[in-house]
Symmetry: C2
Subunit: 552 residues, 2 copies
């Protein structure tokens, strides 16, 4: 595990360890990580069981349960170590970005309802790119204006801009936990899609903050920023699509399935992880890459593998993602009570609270400033009233994207600490404020979201209709038996073979989808496989009854 | 990843990195691990694809392919860095014992043919405990006698005994790769089972070497060693069985399946890993623990979960194990060309070769010295001629257990290096000799094993018959539909309800199995679930045709 072991913690474990060392061979450095891993795995088991027991509760979600269990463990460790240490592993960016985030985002891409996602593509891009930039500007400007009143040491302009980036990073992981793809597909695809695109924007802005001379911003800088974003977005997406297509081609060409389900699953896992790591290697947006890799894999690769590989990948990816999500919230909860940082920030107890309040306010305002205007803009672009975003939905989009999570924590650590220690008091206070914002927004905003959706959108709990081509669909497995139907089923109305150019003007996304299907059928599927193009021998003709094997 | 990054490697990557750093935000220490992980994941993909293409080859196995690819990569890195460094990550015991070994051994326990394993339990214990001790004594004594001729610096008696332990550690991972459970079930269960028990023996011997005063060994020391072994064996087994039963009980009591396949799979993964980590925490044999945890989970827990969880766990565990195995061989191959160790040992080029030859000879003799006598003893104990071990089988058992792998490497590093560096020349020479033995035994002995089995046991390629209760069985899923049959099908002859005590004398293992089944049905299954005790709604009555969903 990439997380470094807190040396003070190891000291606290002294009595137990010396007992253990007396018992047998003692390799000290190994053993402290054994202690930490054992504790974390135990807590993960506890989170799953307790989260399951609390599932019926309308206020709690799994993430909040994990966060609270993490906090309680922090308190217990704090008491055991007589107030010296509350955490067992220091928060590690490497652990978070290299091991925990990729499976979560990949699984989101793999299980996302592709039609829903691509139909709202323009709105998602608006929110993710323009919206993030608006939010970043407002938070940065607000921090610059309001922080001066707190007298918390010298902040440079770069720090303020970094604060803007940190608190504009929507937490995709929180979104996945709070919004349900089946109950509110539109909101899910908008808020989650925004979170994915947001990552590319954040990288561009973060780089800009570090590289550009920001004291005089003119047209060319803005153009350069925009060019950077387009470059990053296109290369990251292309890398993800390329990795997905390569995996589809390898599995189709070599036809692993004849021999081994395990090899197919291994290739899918490794190729998707490779796409993320390559993106990180070339300083692209790994989140965008692995998200698109997941989408391509669910469209092509998933249909080339054996039936048992399909079931295995669907559930194994979801399980990995679930464990990683739980781990992150547990970790953030445990890390929140890091006593050293709080001691550093202690000399001004009111300041940290005030600062957190200001930041929360800025987040609220910054998000409102783009969700409502951009939703209006998006509604103007759309001709069909069905796909417009109502005011209540806008409100939920605003609210559901307010949570800040592990991504904000990781960015804050990156900006305000070097090697995990917070030496300067102004940096310590920024870290503690970030932790407060993350805890408050996740617990309070998170708890309110579920009841809020039920209150504002009571009709939303109908199941999605257009999910035939996704691994997440109960029907996905057996559709190939029904032939490669061309019926385009969007919003409940069957659109059969649109025959005139008028279509394009009336409903551009339908037309794009139609031509994409033609291209897909003519060139992509013969090459990369996918639904209906691989010799598929149904295991049992009565297999349609197997639906409950797919119940999640 | 626990592996530490080799600093010299990072220096070699200079030009590429500085190019990357210029491109964007540069967090140096993170980035070198990104480079290493990307390379490893790429190589893993290459191993799977190339291993698949070479599958028909009678000489190659996946492990040898991975080893050779690792060696080639080592050479390429060596050339790129102008002879300064050949490996990207130092061999890390933590990575090996904490992350790679548990999934492999757990999967072996999960997929093992339980009846075959427990029928040969006495023989396995003889091989694993007595056999390892005999081999250890012979290798230690041989090293003590023969090493003096080489003039390689001062070795203490503890070092010689450690050499005995290191080269008596059968490599379970190699066994899994070379022997096929379906083709040679008896040999597989004997050699692999021996490898699992061998781990407990090795820990006892290793502790004894470090803690006991070995200059005068008398009856009480031997008794103490024996007591230690029994304690370690029983506690480790009990911990594994306890963890398995707890997982079965949790899943049965809470009945996760109603809600989420992912949670069930997560609980199974986490509980099995927890059992391993707890064993490591209390200095027990994690390998024994997680092996028995796998057996109990496949007997109880696996039958309590949903149908899709069963398929997912079966394949996901196999995939994790497959990736970990491939990673280990790749890693050993890359580490073999560690130029620093070879430089240290260079001043006497013939010594290292001679030493490796002596060690290989001792391994051959040490293994022969227990396989043939103990097989004879085991044959005397058995009354039915069917289950006796023929001479050809004994020969294959002797040969298939000769390979030394990552376990030997890890033990050698633990004994002869501190913090991964080999300062003393006599230690460096021991490390290079161990690497040579591992490479030679895996590649040469491993390549010969497959053809050897075909030559000596041509009738062995019939599929196993008695695999109805295992996850590895194509029939396992649908057996519950046929009711909880009591027919005990062993060796092809149906033994229906043995009714007299004469049975016990004639065929003790049959009788033990009969009473175990009665106990299992009366007390264990009602409590912990298992085959036939969980409300199971068959998804399709024609489901028996679904067999190919289980083809591995």
């Amino acid at each position: 595990m990439g997380a470094s072991i807190d040396p003070t913690m190891v000291d606290q474990m002294g009595p137990l360890r010396s007992f253990l060392v007396r018992m047998g061979l003692a390799s000290t450095s190994d053993h402290s990580s054994v202690v930490a891993i054992t504790l974390f795995v135990t807590l993960l088991c506890a989170c799953i069981v307790i989260g399951h027991l609390l599932e019926e509760n309308r206020w709690m979600s799994e993430s909040i349960t994990a966060l609270i269990i993490g906090l309680c463990t922090g308190v217990i460790v704090l008491l055991f170590s007589q107030g010296k240490s509350s955490h067992i592993m220091l928060f590690s960016e490497e652990l978070f970005f290299i091991y925990l985030l990729p499976p979560i985002i990949f699984n989101a891409g793999f299980q996302v309802k592709k039609k829903q996602f691509f139909r709202n593509f323009i709105t998602i891009m608006l929110f993710g790119a323009v919206g993030t930039f608006i939010s970043f500007s407002i938070v940065s400007a607000g921090a610059m204006l309001l922080f001066k009143k707190f007298d918390i040491g010298p902040f440079e302009i770069g720090d303020y801009l970094a604060i803007g980036t940190i608190f504009s990073a929507t937490d995709s992981v929180c979104t996945l936990q709070i919004l349900s793809q089946d109950e509110t597909p539109l909101l899910y695809s908008l808020v989650f899609g925004e979170g994915v695109v947001n990552d590319a924007t954040s990288i561009v802005l973060f780089n800009a903050v570090h590289n550009f001379d920001l004291t005089h911003i003119d047209g060319s800088t803005a153009l350069q920023l925009f060019g950077n974003f387009v470059y990053l977005f296109l290369t990251s997406t292309a890398l993800g699509i390329g990795a997905g297509l390569l995996s589809a081609y390898i599995i189709k060409a070599l036809y692993f399935g004849r021999h081994s389900t395990d090899r197919e699953v291994a290739i899918m896992i490794l190729m998707s992880y490779l796409s993320y790591m390559l993106a990180e290697l070339f300083y692209l947006s790994g989140i965008l890459t692995v998200f698109f890799c997941g989408i391509v894999m669910s469209h092509y690769t998933w249909h080339n593998v054996t039936e048992s590989s399909r079931i295995t990948t669907k559930h194994a990816f979801a399980t990995m993602s679930f464990i990683a999500e739980t781990f992150i919230f547990l970790y953030v909860g445990m890390d929140a009570l890091d006593i050293e940082k709080w001691k550093m920030a202690k000399r001004s107890p009111g300041t940290s609270v005030g600062l957190s309040g200001v930041l929360l306010g800025l987040i609220l305002v910054g998000r409102a400033a783009f969700v409502f205007p951009l939703s209006f803009l998006s509604n103007c672009l759309k001709r069909t009233p069905n796909s417009r975003i109502g005011f209540r939905q806008q409100f939920v989009i605003w609210w559901a994207g307010l949570m800040r999570g592990a991504v904000s924590m990781a960015l804050a650590y990156n900006q305000f600490t070097r090697s995990g220690l917070t030496k300067l008091p102004e940096n310590a206070i920024m870290i503690t404020s970030t932790i407060s914002v993350v805890l408050f927004s996740t617990v309070v905003f998170g708890m309110i979201t579920k009841p809020l959706i039920r209150l504002l959108l009571p009709q939303s709990s109908k199941p999605g209709q257009d999910n035939t081509s996704d691994p997440s669909s109960p029907k996905g497995l057996h559709i190939p038996l029904l032939g490669n139907g061309e019926a385009v089923d969007i919003d409940g109305c069957h659109v059969r073979r649109p025959s005139s150019l008028r279509m394009l003007l009336q409903a551009p996304s339908f037309t794009v989808h139609y031509y994409w299907r033609k291209f897909d059928d003519a060139y992509m599927r013969p090459m990369f496989g996918g639904r209906g193009f691989v010799p598929f021998v149904p295991s049992s003709p009565a297999g349609a009854g197997n639906g409950d094997a797919w119940a999640r």
